[in-house]
Symmetry: C2
Subunit: 69 residues, 2 copies
């Protein structure tokens, strides 16, 4: 599933480590999600949207509508 983590993180000048600490997960988890190696759990997706002040739909692309929009 595509996501805008890298861009959102860059806008705030946060390292993967910074973001990981704000989320309460490991740096490797942030990296894996960012590089698309796996999708976050739903609770983690909520926390991610939270730290950026966005909705989940604004951070992650709906996989069933990847070509839309």
């Amino acid at each position: 599933m595509k996501n805008r983590l890298r861009v959102l993180r860059a806008e705030r000048a946060w390292s993967q480590q910074d973001l990981a600490e704000r989320l309460g997960v490991s740096r490797q988890s942030v990296n894996a999600i960012e590089t698309g190696r796996y999708d976050p759990s739903l609770p983690l997706a909520f926390r991610i949207a939270d730290v950026f002040g966005l909705k989940i739909e604004d951070v992650f692309a709906n996989p069933s509508r990847e070509d839309a929009q």
Copy 2:
């Protein structure tokens, strides 16, 4: 994580089996999510929001804000 699956399903008069088929998962998965035994994956959460024509935030309660609203 709390969710409004049971209510949304009742509004449409769908059985758990009906919803499961629309989502492409087993009836047991729908039941487990509905009864709160576990949270759906993020891709499945997107599909669930889709079949109800809602946003993820309108179906699932943000666990870090459960008392809010």
